[in-house]
């Protein structure tokens, strides 16, 4: 005698059984028992104990959330800093062109540091910073680095109010610090990328 398959029973459970299956189940005690067992199994699955996370993942979520917020703030302040630096440079060119000649080396170093910083920013984009899951420790390191970079960007943005002659050396120092921190940030991201094999 032909019996219902598990697909037939599943369809009967969903009220979608074939005509044959619906007729068969009325007269076949074996298939009735199988259908009942299926109902019982599903009821038991629903009654399985709730599994609880072994560790608190909120600190890691919060660290990533805060690092993303810091990055957004940094992007905004960096944009402001860039505009301020451009305005400053325009002012120097118009008002005191001789200063440029005296501090040619500093300017070369400044340009180099800015280029390195931009290159590192590009490198960072390769690590899908928004889509990656970080460990709590790694996320905290990244958040700290980003906060420090954000602080430097803030200082760069306010430098325009200082004496122009002192400013070049200060700028070079800050941009070098920024490059160093960017390198650490890229390393932190790259290490995690290798770890997950992506």
């Amino acid at each position: 005698m032909m019996h219902c398959t598990m697909e037939d029973l599943g369809a009967l459970r969903a009220g979608e059984g074939s005509v044959w299956a619906r007729r068969h189940i009325i007269t076949c005690a074996i298939c009735q028992a199988e259908l009942e067992a299926l109902y019982q199994r599903v009821a038991q699955l629903k009654a399985l104990p709730t599994l609880r996370p072994p560790r608190d993942r909120w600190p890691a979520v919060r660290a990533v959330m805060n690092s993303e917020r810091a990055r957004r703030r940094r992007s905004r302040s960096a944009w402001g800093g860039t505009l301020a630096a451009a305005a400053l440079l325009a002012g120097v060119l118009l008002v005191q062109p001789s200063i440029l000649g005296q501090s040619g080396n500093l300017h070369a170093e400044l340009t180099q540091a800015k280029q390195q910083s931009a290159t590192l920013e590009d490198s960072l984009q390769h690590y899908d910073v928004d889509g990656r899951v970080l460990s709590g420790h790694c996320a905290a390191v990244v958040a700290e680095l980003e906060d420090r970079i954000s602080d430097i960007d803030g200082t760069l943005a306010t430098l325009t109010q200082r004496n122009v002659g002192e400013q070049d050396a200060e700028l070079v120092k800050l941009w070098r610090q920024r490059v160093g921190l960017m390198r650490e940030l890229v390393t932190a991201r790259a290490t995690r990328a290798r770890y997950v094999g992506l």
């Binding site: 019996h3 028992a33 199988e34 199994r41 399985l48 709730t50």
Partner: protein
């Protein structure tokens, strides 16, 4: 798992405004159901933990897009199940695991007296996901097929095969039929 988690609208509004305490309250409200869902679908506990983290990162990033249509748990659960299914798919691609392959099953003697929870653990992640989403979470085959990027018949056949396998592993004797 039946979840009836009522989240006050004011809490959602605060979370949407970026209030960290409100976001943490949402995490605390849903961490266990999200982990349970992911853990039932995935074999490795650490993968379920990663899904928990990924889910709440997405919740934090996109909570503003939640318009209050339907229960918040439904929205969070959808994110969590999608993340878990993505992980299953990615692992299958990496390990070129056949959809029919059930790694734990080889060591398990058919007919051994297992309890349901252990038997369920033996199923492949694809089978577990389909069984859990359909039988416990109440997803339709159409919804599962859409989330898995598969056909409705795939979902139905996975469910039937998973139940047939569970039945064999549990050594159920309900009258001598062989399914």
């Amino acid at each position: 798992m039946t979840v009836s988690l009522a989240v006050p609208d004011v809490l959602v509004a605060r979370a949407q405004a970026g209030d960290e305490a409100a976001l943490e309250a949402l995490y605390r409200a849903f961490e266990t159901p999200v982990y349970n869902l992911a853990r039932r679908m995935l074999r490795r506990p650490e993968d379920a933990e990663d899904v928990l983290q990924e889910t709440f990162l997405e919740v934090v990033r996109n909570i503003k897009q939640y318009r209050g249509e339907g229960h918040l748990w439904g929205w969070v659960r959808r994110i969590a199940s999608t993340k878990a299914l993505m992980r299953i798919r990615r692992d299958q691609l990496r390990a070129t695991e056949s959809l029919d392959d059930e790694p734990g099953g080889r060591a398990m003697h058919v007919g051994a007296n297992l309890d349901l929870e252990r038997a369920f653990e033996v199923l492949s992640e694809t089978s577990r996901a389909v069984v859990w989403l359909h039988d416990v979470e109440g997803y339709t085959h159409e919804e599962i097929a859409e989330q898995m990027g598969r056909s409705v018949s795939f979902s139905k056949s996975q469910l039937a095969r998973a139940h047939a396998r569970l039945r064999r592993m549990l050594n159920e004797d309900v009258g001598g039929a062989t399914l």
